[in-house]
């Protein structure tokens, strides 16, 4: 052993301490063993950095707001409905859409890890994966919402969805009043990533 770790030390402790060097060491080792194609890594990064992200989810929301048949299909079987739009795959194999109403606001968390609907929203933001969000969103969602600048109207219940299985949740926000003249593209531009997690509302353009 080139390092002075005992055999009981976890394998990860054998890697360099700096995380950037740690990932480089793993990538180099796996590449030299023939197990990784660095071009495949570039392709994965390209997809999640530039192609798969919250614009997908926003297109789904805008379509649901403008196409009543689609909205119905989305609420009945979101997996099928979003597949129609080409949004399928890893971390989105089983999708459920949950609709905000004047009676209920929906908010999504994964307390056990970081489950998130990748094909619709991309890679989760840092705060979604943070201990503070994971710990608190289930117990005090309204305090968390207040930190995001969201105060719900009196009488609106909060429903927190803890993603404990492979079902991935998309919040269908309420369409803001005063947007009747907007088409689906213009509506999609109003829908933020956070609104589809349930930590933001959608506002009409000023």
């Amino acid at each position: 052993m080139p390092h002075d770790h005992g055999d009981d030390a976890p394998p990860h402790s054998l890697l360099p301490p700096d995380p950037a060097l740690r990932v480089k060491a793993l990538e180099t080792l796996l590449t030299r063993k023939g197990l990784i194609d660095p071009a495949a890594l570039d392709e994965i990064i390209e997809i999640y950095a530039h192609k798969v992200g919250p614009r997908n989810g926003a297109a789904v929301v805008a379509r649901a707001w403008t196409d009543p048949d689609f909205r119905k299909r989305l609420l009945e079987d979101a997996t099928e409905a979003v597949a129609e739009m080409g949004f399928t795959g890893r971390q989105g194999e089983h999708v459920v859409a949950v609709e905000n109403t004047p009676e209920q606001h929906n908010m999504v968390v994964c307390t056990l890890c970081s489950c998130y609907p990748w094909p619709l929203l991309g890679i989760p933001p840092g705060w979604y994966k943070s201990d503070a969000y994971r710990a608190r969103a289930v117990r005090e969602p309204r305090r968390v919402l207040a930190e995001f600048g969201v105060t719900l109207p009196e009488g609106q219940r909060v429903r927190v969805w803890d993603s404990t299985a492979e079902v991935r949740y998309l919040v269908l926000p309420m369409r803001p009043v005063g947007t009747d003249g907007l088409d689906a593209n213009a509506l999609a531009a109003l829908v933020s990533r956070d609104a589809m997690i349930g930590t933001a509302l959608v506002e009409a353009p000023a």
Binding site: P2, V23, L41, E43, I123, S130, D131
Partner: protein
């Protein structure tokens, strides 16, 4: 009974810290690399998603809390690679790498997009559901893996021993408690179960607030 990752309801974490404005998807270049290496290594087919979650949550609490998100992924990956005999401890520590018999399974760049778009559905044929929407159920307590001491489970600690209502049945899904430990998929009915926040936490922020979890049938007992 719990592990460090099971943090739902925990006190003391402070405000949720958010990046300002339009933060990039990957805050650091190595974050992107860590994600990609993890996905590409997973594509070798030597472990399941459930097994990889168990590797991360099995990190020592001191490491889990000290590591940033992608450091947890890297540590879990390194531990899995050794546990599944894909790499040796010596190789991880810097010894000359030996060629791997798994090289033929290497994820090639040209199939990445298709592989990601296919994903890994976990819906399976399985037993008929014991519960139906509207049924009252009680969750098992404590939240633990019945087959493996200290093993993987997806019943959060805060949701153990609670009465809730089945809202939706999702068909049979691969059972993480066995699948994480090489004990087979053993697909079971999966349900969304809703709990009154006042019952979960002793007091709710507002009356009528609820929390739901997606729970496998063997986590549940009928509540009469």
């Amino acid at each position: 009974m719990t592990r460090v990752h099971d943090m739902g309801g925990r006190f003391g974490d402070g405000p949720v810290q958010r990046a300002a404005g339009d933060a990039p998807v990957f805050a650091e270049e190595w974050h992107a690399r860590a994600l990609a290496v993890t996905l590409a290594a997973g594509a070798l087919g030597q472990w399941t998603l459930d097994r990889s979650r168990f590797a991360r949550e099995s990190l020592a609490p001191a490491d889990y809390m000290a590591f940033s998100y992608y450091e947890k992924w890297l540590a879990g990956l390194a531990d899995l690679l050794v546990a599944q005999d894909v790499v040796s401890r010596a190789e991880l520590a810097g010894a000359e790498p030996a060629p791997s018999p798994l090289a033929a399974r290497r994820l090639r760049a040209e199939v990445v997009a298709g592989t990601l778009a296919r994903g890994g559905p976990v819906l399976r044929d399985g037993p008929a559901p014991r519960f139906a929407p509207g049924d009252r159920v009680r969750t098992r307590r404590p939240a633990r893996n019945l087959a493996v001491t200290g093993g993987h489970t997806r019943l959060p600690g805060y949701a153990a021993g609670l009465t809730g209502v089945v809202e939706r049945a999702h068909g049979c899904h691969v059972f993480p408690d066995t699948n994480a430990h090489g004990l087979g998929e053993q697909a079971e009915p999966l349900y969304t179960v809703v709990f009154d926040a006042a019952e979960v936490w002793g007091a709710a922020e507002a009356p009528g607030d609820t929390v739901s979890c997606d729970l496998w049938e063997s986590y549940l007992e009928p509540e009469t």
